[in-house]
Amino acid sequence: MTKCIVPYPENCTGCRSCELICTLHHEKLSNRRKARIRIVKSGVKVDIPVVCSQCTACGDACCLNVCPEEAISLSGEAVIVNEERCTGCGACERSCPFGVIRVFGTAKKCDLCSGDPVCVKFCPYGAIRYEEPKPEQYQKVAEMLEALK
């Protein structure tokens, strides 16, 4: 069964711990702007966890399709980047409708921590859950992001 990270913005406290633990885990340093998950905030009411999984859920991964080096592929449940092939051209970053694949030298994106996402482990509020895809939650996040534009 496919699982991915499902966002529940209605539960997100906006604490950004997921961003911090993500960078620590993947980059071995701290820099929330390099996280593969990001929290979009607006005013006191809106905190939106934005993380790649929408595309894997709908099967239409823009980043995978546009990569000229074929450095992005579907591996099990996750869309992953082959950093050796990646030239850092940024085509994927430009194509991603959610801004969750970003280039720092090479492209960085959520790889679901090989099936045990550390951000999910760190969120006691159920604002991000590792579970079966929930299209209505992705839709909600997309609409909330749209409303902020």
């Binding site: 906006g14 604490c15 701290s30 702007r33 390099k34 005013g43 006191v44 969120c123 509020y125």
Partner: protein, 604 residues
């Protein structure tokens, strides 16, 4: 290499210098580093509104890194309210962002000729025209600055700071540097906001170890009883218990100590009804913040991060206000105008008592001002924020207001060193009574956090009887030093019953390869306590100016389980003498040379 940033608003000049490593080892960061930087650059005799007053913003040492609940940043200046050091610790993301911009602290002095903002975009620091933001509420200011500058974290003041309300606050992400009037210092400098963007890496000494420690502490916190309480009810969880079982909830400007009409302001009533989700400071998954929403009625549309315990007192019980919706609305307005809810509420309670006693008339005030009337509280907040009617005078704080009003109103002016007291009736809490007097910033609960000791009888390595003077000096001294460690590392003080000091040597080693012991950390706390005292003495601090409000010394508690409790002048002197001895200060509060030498600060 991280740096200290100096901004001179008068000259439009910006200077950056690497942080000397000894400053970090001796002062850590946050509050400790801020005090050290403040002492070297601030002329102690200058008025708080003098352009050369210094405002320091100093991220806690752990800011920018995931250490559980360590998102706290220190703001520090000279207080327009108390004339002493003003320090306020806040959970907004600006501390983390400064660290990611490579900065350990920002030291701001001078005054802009026009309303301005300071923009820190990694290494690029600019002073920008801020006239278009002037007059805006805190939230709208943040939104407008982010619209103009793009992705950044903003700390801003509202109209109260612009209008030099002496208890104006600084807001960042609906978290406030609330106490002591730091927002008015920004206002006096024509500085509307500080915008920060940082995307530099922060290197971690042992990342795998840190991740393991984070997960370890996460598990402990999430599985604790405190977590469930914080998440469900926030900081006011114990409000009913504190009334019923301790009888120390100051009510109607401290005329009463049990609030009979507390049903609605008890989080057990309002949380299920109005809270839509939890709100957390950066790096905190043990969130006491709540998103409080009102859907209908006269205050429909209210959305506030709260209501915290202190505010349930100040805008609730202190004003005899039983209406939680009015409390939440007044809380939101305080945040939007940029005012400390504690001082604002106590000032309003003071005015209400003067009306009750016929010393002031409502016509003179310019609004209804009656105990128990929620609408009065909401209107009074606006009056003060805009400094209209009696708000012009009340924006000066209770001490100055009572001096101007006269007519015996000083008996009803609840303050220590000009700062309005927090939500603990110290007549029945002796450690807290002493803490209000020894706090460097005036009446305050967070320098020692001794309320936890008084209320439960046990805290850290101490146990106590809240109604005696025994050993209070030593305990308060140690607790103050202990709390400075938290405020310097940037760790939330609500985590103290998890971390104590035990957790920090491992965390400091994992993050920075820093080898310290618990004793080293406490010594930092003591060093910083002494530096604060040195500054305060030079700025005219006297022991006498820190005496408890008359009411606390003269009028015993009238009802409830603490009935009869009072702190007499004699009690006050016994505890103060005990404290000075424990600190190795003379009777007048002057640190002995030998103590300063021992702490390595004899030349400061």
């Amino acid at each position: 290499m991280s740096s200290l940033l100096h901004v001179d608003l008068s000259k439009g000049r910006v200077r950056k210098a690497p942080t000397p490593p000894c400053l970090i080892s001796n002062y850590l960061g946050g509050n400790g580093l801020a005090v050290r930087l403040f002492l070297e650059s601030m002329g102690p005799s200058l008025d708080a509104f003098h352009p050369e007053n210094i405002l320091v913003i100093s991220p806690g040492l752990f800011n920018g890194i995931l250490v559980n609940t360590a998102g706290k940043v220190a703001f520090l200046s000279k207080s327009p309210l108390s004339g002493t050091i003003a320090e306020s610790i806040m959970g907004g993301c600006i501390g983390s962002e400064l660290k990611q911009a490579g900065l350990d602290a920002v030291v701001i002095k001078g005054k802009c000729s026009n309303p301005s903002i300071v923009s820190i975009d990694n290494d690029e620091v600019t002073i920008l025209d801020g006239r278009s933001y002037w007059g805006e509420f805190s939230r709208e200011t943040t939104e407008a600055v982010q619209r103009d500058l793009g992705d950044c974290i903003v700390a801003s003041i509202g109209p109260a700071g612009e209008n030099l309300v002496r208890f104006a606050s600084i807001d960042c992400e609906d978290r406030q540097a609330g106490r002591g009037g730091l927002g008015a210092v920004m206002g006096s400098k024509n500085l509307k906001a500080i915008a920060v963007r940082g995307d530099k890496d922060i290197q971690i000494s042992q990342p795998e170890r840190l991740e393991a420690l984070d997960l370890h502490w996460q598990k402990i916190m999430v599985n604790s009883a405190a977590f469930v309480e914080d998440v469900k009810y926030g900081t006011g969880e114990f409000l009913d218990w504190l009334n019923k079982e301790r009888g120390v909830f100051p009510t109607k400007n401290w005329q009463e100590s049990v609030f009979d009409d507390r049903r609605q302001i008890d989080p057990y009533y309002w949380a299920p009804k109005y809270v839509s989700k939890c709100k957390g400071c950066v790096a905190c998954t043990k969130t006491c913040g709540k998103l409080f929403l009102i859907q209908c009625g006269p205050y429909a549309g209210t959305a506030v991060d709260g209501v915290e315990y202190e505010t349930l007192y100040s805008l609730g019980g202190e004003c005899g206000n039983p209406d939680i919706e009015a409390v939440a609305r007044a809380n939101e307005l305080c945040d939007q105008y940029g005012m400390d809810t504690i001082s604002a509420g106590v000032v309003i309670g003071f005015a209400m008592e003067l009306v009750q006693r016929g010393i002031l008339k409502e016509q003179e005030i310019g609004a209804d001002c009656r105990f128990g009337d929620g609408a009065s509280v909401v209107k009074m907040v606006e009056l003060i924020g805009r400094r209209k009617g009696m708000g012009r005078l009340l924006g000066e704080g209770v001490q100055r207001a009572s001096e101007a009003i006269g007519k015996g109103s000083d008996h009803y002016a609840m303050h220590v060193r000009g700062m309005e007291p927090p939500a603990y009736d110290v007549r029945g809490m002796r450690s807290m009574a002493l803490s209000l007097m020894t706090s460097p910033r005036g009446a305050d609960h967070l320098r020692s956090g001794a309320y936890a000791l008084d209320l439960t009888g046990k805290m850290w390595k101490f146990s106590t009887d809240r109604l005696t003077n025994d050993d209070k000096g030593r305990m308060v001294k140690e607790l103050e030093d202990f709390m400075i460690v938290y405020d310097s590392l940037g760790v939330c003080k609500f985590s103290r019953k998890f971390f104590w000091l035990e957790a920090f040597p491992d965390l400091l080693d994992a993050c920075f390869g820093m080898k310290v012991t618990e004793a080293n950390l406490l010594l930092v706390g003591e060093r910083v306590s002494n530096l604060k005292q040195l500054f305060n003495l030079r700025s005219g601090w006297t022991k006498e100016a820190g005496y408890l409000p008359k009411r606390v010394r003269k009028d015993p508690i009238k009802e409830g389980v603490s009935e009869g409790a009072v702190v007499s002048d004699e009690d006050m002197h016994i505890m103060l003498d005990d404290y000075m001895r424990s600190r190795d200060w003379d009777e007048g509060g002057v640190p002995k040379k030998s103590k300063l030498r021992e702490l390595g600060i004899e030349d400061l």
